[in-house]
């Protein structure tokens, strides 16, 4: 290999990586200044800076109501995804179930079906069962969408988990539930946190299924933004989005600090 080629190779990976980080970040970052605009229009750079959009957001119950609704649905989704997905992932890893491959494929299914197909199907199903406009229908639908991510994330952690640890605990006299909570769970923390975060974000940003399933009391922020788009592109969504971004970053930093503290112990 010639020297210039080698030099190019050395720089190739970091340069591409940094360009990519920039590309991923910019659209999110640019929303920040937009959110401090004067209101009325989506503009960059704003003509003047103000907190007008935030004032509009917090004084309009439809906005912050949708935001709290979204937060609640997303939290419930993250919780349900963990509660339902974790035992299943563990069972599939630690038992030789007949047809485990098929079960796996089935669980991964929601990842492989275009969401609009599911949106209509769910609507057709919920309408006669009088399940529309219920928080429970929405967060369970979102759970269905998010479960594959939990399975992938926890599955990766489980594969690194040495099964002899569980056998060792068993021989030492621990019950299987105790083993799950004291031996398995602590070691899956990172995987669960990642999976739950994914579930949270998927629910928080999901438009299409939510559009079909929600009603007036269950309207989520993305649906509110989406329907607002029909008549106006209210720059309030920039403020809403900034709030969400800041909130999520704080959440992520919190999780990171928690993990670090745990490591130091």
């Amino acid at each position: 290999m010639t020297r210039p080629l080698r030099t190019a190779a050395v720089f190739f990976v970091p340069v591409v990586a940094w360009a990519c980080y920039l590309f991923l970040l910019l659209p999110s970052v640019i929303v920040f200044p937009i959110s401090f605009g004067t209101g009325g229009e989506f503009e960059f750079p704003p003509r003047a800076f103000s907190l007008e959009l935030y004032r509009q957001f917090f004084t309009d119950a439809a906005w912050w109501g949708a935001m709290t609704q979204s937060l609640m649905i997303a939290l419930m989704t993250a919780l349900a995804t963990t509660v339902l997905g974790l035992p299943a992932a563990y069972a599939l890893q630690r038992a030789s179930l007949p047809g485990a491959g098929l079960i796996n494929g089935f669980i991964m299914g929601p990842l492989l079906v275009p969401v609009i197909v599911l949106g209509l199907g769910l609507y057709l199903q919920f309408a006669p069962w009088n399940l529309l406009n219920r928080d429970v229908s929405l967060f369970l639908s979102h759970t269905m969408l998010a479960v594959p991510f939990m399975m992938i994330s926890v599955g990766a952690s489980l594969r690194h988990l040495d099964p002899t640890l569980e056998n060792a605990a068993l021989i030492m006299g621990a019950s299987k539930p105790a083993i799950f909570f004291k031996v398995v769970l602590p070691q899956l923390k990172a995987g669960i946190a990642a999976g739950a975060l994914f579930a949270f974000l998927i629910s928080f940003d999901e438009v299409i299924v939510a559009y079909f399933v929600t009603g007036p009391e269950t309207q989520t922020l993305p649906v509110k933004m989406y329907s607002a788009m029909r008549w106006e592109l209210s720059p309030v969504i920039a403020a809403a989005s900034t709030l969400v971004t800041v909130f999520s970053i704080l959440l992520a930093i919190g999780i990171m600090m928690l993990q670090r503290k745990e490591k130091q112990q």
Partner: protein, 354 residues
């Protein structure tokens, strides 16, 4: 007005009855259950500022007057209505339906027939159908940026919009066929009164000529506005109310009333609604002159009640009303689109992507 609901509602009730008596609403609707304070109807809406206007202009005053609560639900689109009707679990009482929606809904047999008294309502600009009631009209026309295209440098009518030699520049158009085909035909010289039935072939021929100058097909109104404000297009087909709010925030946009397409928006009652009577009562209420005037002023719409039109025209704020009598403006024929929407929209989509 929204406060102290119960006390006022008795008084308003008599007032409402009086209004009904002069023919704006059917007396039969008022009798019976109107006093039931626990009653509630659900009306669909479209989110954002539109939702707020309906709340302010129609829903809250109606509740204040009748004691019937009005719940507004966003995104009451046709698919949801059909699913409710099919599954016999109708939870909505009034559907706010744009033209194509109202007419297709009728074909799909989704609507409850309106009360005969309601259908017989007099003094309306557009006559009601047995299944759906026209509530107001909204005007679509040409939008431009006043800084990049000062007077004389932008089209004001459809002929100008389709004339790329006179007004070179990028166009933004709707991704839907209704209004677009009308604009094309009028732009090609067809008189608005001779439009229907639409000459679809001719319309597409006109669109073909413009195609290279179209930089964006917008699925939503905000996209039309942002495409011009962010310099992705020079002229766009758009709607005045949206332009108005952009103007308010200082964006240098303007809209021409020289020539507009005026589309109807309807109220219809889905088959199997459990609150039919209250729903009819609400529709009658919305057609009242004062409500229609308030609605038109709030959202820059053309009211469907003639007296309201006259009232606004006489006022200093009436500049936004298109003159339907001038012969230049188009009223979109909902029935024609009801019969042809699917075929023509498919063809339009195909044309768009090829």
């Amino acid at each position: 007005m929204t406060k102290d609901t119960f006390r006022i509602s008795r008084r308003s009730f008599t007032k409402g009855a009086a209004v009904a008596a002069i023919g704006l609403a059917a007396p039969s609707v008022i009798t019976g259950r109107a006093r039931a304070a626990d009653k509630s109807i659900t009306v669909t809406s479209w989110g954002g500022d539109y939702h707020k206007s309906v709340e302010e202009v129609f829903a809250a005053p109606f509740t204040a007057e009748t004691g019937i609560a009005v719940q507004l639900v966003d995104n009451g689109d046709m698919a949801k209505v059909k699913a409710q009707v099919l599954s016999n679990s109708v939870t909505w009482d009034i559907i706010d339906a744009p033209a194509a929606f109202a007419t297709s809904g009728a074909k799909e047999n989704l609507w409850e027939p309106l009360d005969s008294t309601l259908v017989a309502t007099e003094g309306l600009l557009e006559k009601p159908n047995a299944l759906y009631m026209p509530l107001y009209l909204y005007s679509g026309g040409i939008l431009w940026n006043t800084e990049r295209h000062p007077d004389g440098k932008h089209p004001v009518d459809f002929a100008g919009f389709f004339d790329t030699e006179k007004f070179p520049g990028r166009r933004c158009m709707r991704s839907l066929a209704p209004e677009t085909l009308e604009a094309a035909l009028v732009g090609d010289g067809v008189q608005p009164k001779d439009l229907y039935p639409l000459d679809v072939e001719r319309a597409f021929a006109v669109l073909d000529r413009l195609k290279d100058n179209i930089s964006k097909f917008a699925a939503t109104t905000p996209e039309q506005v942002t495409s011009v404000s962010q310099n992705e297009a020079d002229f766009s087909y758009s709607y005045y109310n949206r332009v108005k709010s952009a103007q308010k925030s200082g964006t240098p946009l303007d809209f021409s009333f020289a020539q507009t397409n005026n589309s109807l928006d309807f109220f219809a009652i889905p088959k199997g609604s459990k609150n039919k009577e209250a729903a009819m009562q609400f529709i009658a209420f919305c057609l009242r002159q004062d409500r229609q005037t308030a609605w038109a002023l709030r959202g820059y719409y053309l009211p469907n009640t003639l007296k309201s039109v006259e009232e606004i025209k006489a006022s200093p704020n009436g500049g936004f009303l298109p003159d339907l009598a001038s012969g230049k403006n188009v009223v979109i024929n909902a029935e024609w689109w009801g019969d042809n929407y699917t075929t023509v929209q498919k063809r339009y989509s195909e044309w768009m992507i090829s």
